[in-house]
Amino acid sequence: MAKTQAQQKLTGITKVPTGIQGLDEILNGGLPCGRSSLVCGNAGCGKTFLGMQFLVNGAQKYGSPGVFVSFEETSEELRKNFASIGVDLNDLEKRKLLALDYIFIERSEIKETGEFDLEGLFVRLGQAVRSIGAKRIVIDTIEALFSGFSNEAILRAELRRLFRWLKSNGLTAIITGERIGEIFTRHGLEEFVADCVILLDNNIVDQISTRRMRIVKYRGSSHGTNEYPFLIGANGMSVLPITSISMDYKVTAERISSGIEALDRMLEGEGYFRGSSILVSGSPGSGKTSIASHFLDACCRRGEKCLLFTFEESGEQLARNLESIGLHLKIGVKKGLLKIIAQRPTFQGLEFHLLEIHDLVRRFGPQAVVVDPVSCFSCVGKNWQIRSMLSRLVDFFKSENITALFTDLINGNDPAEESYISSLADTWILLNNASGMQRERSLGIIKSRGMAHSDEFFPIKIGREGLGLGKARHEGLKKGVVSIETFGAGR
């Protein structure tokens, strides 16, 4: 015994990948091979889904057959539920990569007349496992047994035997259990399954639901310890170990145009650094979206892919309005270079916006991303939450060498006080909207890391040719009256 333990220590435990994006990362490779893991959580938190995804991925990605033993949903219900997210369980069953076994327990039918054991259950499991040579198994949820049999002493002994049986058959198992209050599982399954425990949670804060997971323990392995948000969507399940993104990304000295010639001139004549993050702050109507759109337009002209997340206007409306300043975003959309995602911020919680942005970026592979505006998130999160989300987003974009431009709506006098990410941004462009006799907009660069940028404020002129800048006149600006002397159109 002591010897085998020592050997295990030397080789470490083998992992079985779940194939769920992000989860394997948190688990440092996957679930412990040949052991049982407990997945627990409240009703409707995604336990069954996680289990099935483990098997479906096993079958599809790793050619590893699996058995799903259900005490709650019939096989037909499972097939239907998963068909609605595009997974054909029938097909996997036909190809002998998956076996479903629905075990029905109804207490009223069963009378206990003396000593018994659960050999029938073992026979059934054995039969299902042998029928396809299963390597993976999910039991959802074994606690149903407690409602079917009243003799708890026998049940506990049999459960212990069950977990030994799973181990001796070399099965990597997921056991689900329902969480009651602060207790992991109603009947204390964690007593039996001690190797790996994953806790799922579905929180509703301010009417917005957020799914989260946490690895409570993982014997013999390191693992991520935070709470991670996860998403159950059309592409299955994905977990975002966002907090694990580190700051050691590569940087380039490459420069890319802002799409506005005059603005490029203010940035050493070369524009932004590729892979940097840019913040454009301004009051309503100061020209934030126009600056962002020029940037997207320039990307499309270079033939680069870009993504626009807009939370205030529909894509159609935005494209139409930008036509009036000579920007034809539709061309980029048609060419497949630009993708516009228009959504109300209240559509989902903060973490989910983050997850979705991740998801889309991973699938679309853009070189530039615009989020317009980040201030809209204030209706779905508290300031510190938004700050934390945006900092993770900035880190993510940097790690992918994506140039990211964020717009930020400010109303007050102190932009630094109000802004969520001014400290995170590499380049910070501030748009003033002074009102006097005549409304006057102006643009200045508060900071731009790593370059000698202009310190002056220039009046903004937006016309059919796009956005341009006039000549700086400090005194005039302060009074809010500036005459436009030169007009350098965009591009």
């Binding site: 000593e115 050999e119 029938g120 026979v123």
Partner: protein, 86 residues
């Protein structure tokens, strides 16, 4: 009626002995016992949803009743066979 067993374990053998005794006493010549060994016919476990061993399934006369255990509690078995009121 059908008695599900899994091999010749003491519990299973005891259940069969108990069942025969009860049937001889109360149902002489009016019963048939079919013993199903799940180790030999594992596929039969699914049909009657058998988990516990031994399990006795009484089909006739209806309703279908299931009893689990070694059948040593004669009173409960008689109720299950509808030979006595609960």
């Amino acid at each position: 009626m059908r008695l599900y067993v899994a091999g010749q374990t003491p519990k299973c053998l005891l259940a069969l002995v108990n069942l025969k005794k009860i049937c001889e006493e109360h149902l002489r010549d009016r019963y048939t016992i079919e013993v199903v060994d799940l180790l030999k016919q594992p596929q039969l476990a699914q049909g009657d949803q058998i988990l516990a061993i031994p399990t006795l399934v009484k089909r006739l006369p209806p309703p279908v009743n299931k009893m689990i255990g070694d059948l040593s509690n004669t009173e409960k078995v008689l109720v299950g066979l509808d030979l006595r009121c609960a």
